[in-house]
Amino acid sequence: MTDDFSIEKAVEQSTQIPEQSPAPFLTQLKGFWLTFATMFKKVETIQYPEERQQTAERFHGRHQLNRYEDGLEKCIGCELCAWACPADAILVEAGDNTADAQYSPGERYGKVYQINYLRCIFCGLCIEACPTRALTMTSEYELAENNRGKLIFEKEDLLAPLRAGMLQPPHPMYPGTTDTSYYKGEVTGSHPSQEVKTTDA
């Protein structure tokens, strides 16, 4: 049986396909005009090291460990970021805050905090996981090094710098507050009594 296939049909179909013929001469010349005109257009190149562009507002760059307004660290060492990380790039070891050495409000703080930028895929799941907004991302993207070891960032590499009014931890919490008041944003700066204690310690 020959079924549906017939040569007549095939021929009919093949004749329906419009034949490819070269474009008219003047149309071809258009291409020459295009390249010539492009020479006088503004170039797209950005002279990178000298000239930098603002990144997008929500760019996923290097991480940062934030602080409260009095300088205490926001990180409580809960390891949720490390658990959320699909690339297993984060290592957190928590430590206990003591009366002599208070690093963050509440009981615990992140004693060891490492992010391995050889592994990190900048997906931002760690930022979503963080319950205290301790971990956020900056717009810094120049993360190249000549050494693999240098790309494992330690806590001190990641911590946000102390701004005016902040004190270098460890120091006690703002007098008369709990960790909840910190969390609610009621602490808006450091108290002189906090400084005295730290210098003593």
């Binding site: 020959t2 079924d3 549906d4 040569i7 049909k9 020459f32 295009l34 010539f36 492009t38 257009k41």
Partner: protein, 420 residues
């Protein structure tokens, strides 16, 4: 042929009277010009193509990136020089040398200035003036192909071999068209000497008088130099690097040098044969005596740069041709057209020399045009007939009586049905 002024000596006689030290000086100068032109043209090409692609191109090494090609050259020289185990060592080493030397040699007969003084000695900026100068250039260009073919063959590797073969077929095919396009120039100038041809263009440039020859020459010079869109020999996407795939270090640099010097020398030849050589633009003839005649050098290089820009422009605009398209174009279009054109030119020339009347010449030209139109329409008709016949013959083919698998899949009501 025409007024040379001064002592009434022709360029050939002038150059013939050169003392040895001037010949040596000119030789060195030509070499230096070629090398510097290569360095600058690589830079210029990269910058121009970049601008055509909305980029800036190399701009780091030196002012405006001018030292980029020098830096690249130094880098190439410092690279490890590999010779593959399967290569034929002697030929492998000789091939780039052939390529590089021949392209410099072509420059020897190019007249770059009119009459000038070098340290008080009157001469012309042309190393030698052969009575068959243009033939010499063609011959040298053919020898240059050996460099490419031998490089491809001696590498002992597949891609270079294919690239070398492509390139030799290409250069040989396009040399035919190139040679034919030059015949019209010889007929009109009555000489094969480059300086005599330049002198013969005192009134009208041959690029205007012999416009079809000019076009054919320009196309075939691109084919001849293996440049885009005819760069089939090194088609990066198909043949890795073509004939120079296995080359590294200075040997590779020599091929690179050869390519660019070749470009400059075919451009120089085009300038000489079609754009009046070192002569000024019509109406600016008074500039030719500036700087004691040296200003003609500026005119010469302005025209060469014009051709060079054309090369770059082509590269920035056109995609590479397929091999069969390329060969078809060379053999079935360029060669027949130039043959026809030569016939027309020689007939017209003879008619003019025999003192035919103007009306006769015009009538002849008109007749030729009519013939061309008739041939074109006949061709179109026969094409259509062949197409129709093909369709008929396919229809006449009976359906076979045995079951055959279908080649077509048709889409009905959005679901795909495959017939078998």
């Amino acid at each position: 042929m025409s007024c040379n002024g001064g002592e009434g000596m022709s360029t050939a006689e002038l150059i013939g009277a050169d003392p040895g030290w001037i010949i040596a000086l000119k030789g060195v100068l030509i070499f230096v010009i070629c090398v510097v032109a290569t360095l600058l043209s690589i830079w210029a090409e990269r910058r121009i193509v970049a601008r055509m692609q909305v980029r800036v191109g190399p701009n780091r090494a030196g002012k405006f990136g001018l030292l980029q090609s020098l830096a690249d050259g130094v880098k190439l020289a410092l690279k490890e020089d590999l010779i593959p185990k399967a290569a034929d060592k002697i030929v492998f080493v000789i091939a780039p040398i052939i390529s590089a030397t021949t392209c410099f040699m072509a420059f020897a007969v190019i007249p770059m200035t009119g009459k000038v003084k070098i340290f008080g000695h009157t001469t012309a900026m042309q190393l030698t003036d052969l009575p068959v100068g243009v033939l010499y250039v063609l011959a040298i260009a053919s020898v240059g192909v050996y460099g490419i073919v031998l490089a491809g063959w001696s590498s002992g590797s597949t891609y270079p071999l294919l690239g070398g073969l492509r390139s030799s077929a290409q250069v040989i095919s396009y040399e035919v068209a190139m040679g034919l396009s030059l015949v019209a120039v010889f007929i009109y100038s009555g000489s094969m000497s480059t300086s005599a041809i330049v002198d013969a263009q005192n009134k009208w440039w041959f690029g205007v008088v012999l416009f079809p020859s000019f076009i054919i020459y320009v196309i075939s010079m691109v084919g001849e130099t293996n440049r885009a869109p005819f760069d089939l020999a090194e088609a990066e996407g198909e043949l890795v690097g073509g004939f120079h795939t296995e080359y590294s270090s200075l040997k590779f640099a020599l091929f690179f040098l050869a390519e660019y010097v070749n470009m400059v020398s075919v451009s120089a030849l085009a300038t000489t044969l079609f754009l009046g050589g070192y002569h000024a633009l019509p109406g600016l003839g008074f500039t030719e005596s500036w700087l004691g005649g040296w200003f003609t050098l500026v005119w010469f290089f302005a025209k060469v740069i014009l051709f060079f820009f054309l090369f770059v422009w082509l590269r920035g605009t056109l995609p590479r041709l397929r091999y069969d398209q390329f060969m078809k174009f060379g053999w079935k279009v360029l060669i027949p057209v130039s043959l026809l054109w030569i016939m027309v030119v020689s007939t017209l020339r003879v008619m003019a020399q025999q003192g035919a009347s103007r009306t006769l010449i015009i009538a002849f030209t008109f007749g030729i045009l009519l013939l061309i139109f008739a041939a074109a329409s006949l061709l179109e008709r026969s094409k259509e007939r062949v197409k129709k016949e093909n369709a008929e013959s396919l229809k006449a083919f009976p359906n076979p009586s045995f079951p055959i698998p279908s080649l077509t899949a048709s889409v009905k009501n959005g679901t795909e049905e495959i017939h078998d």
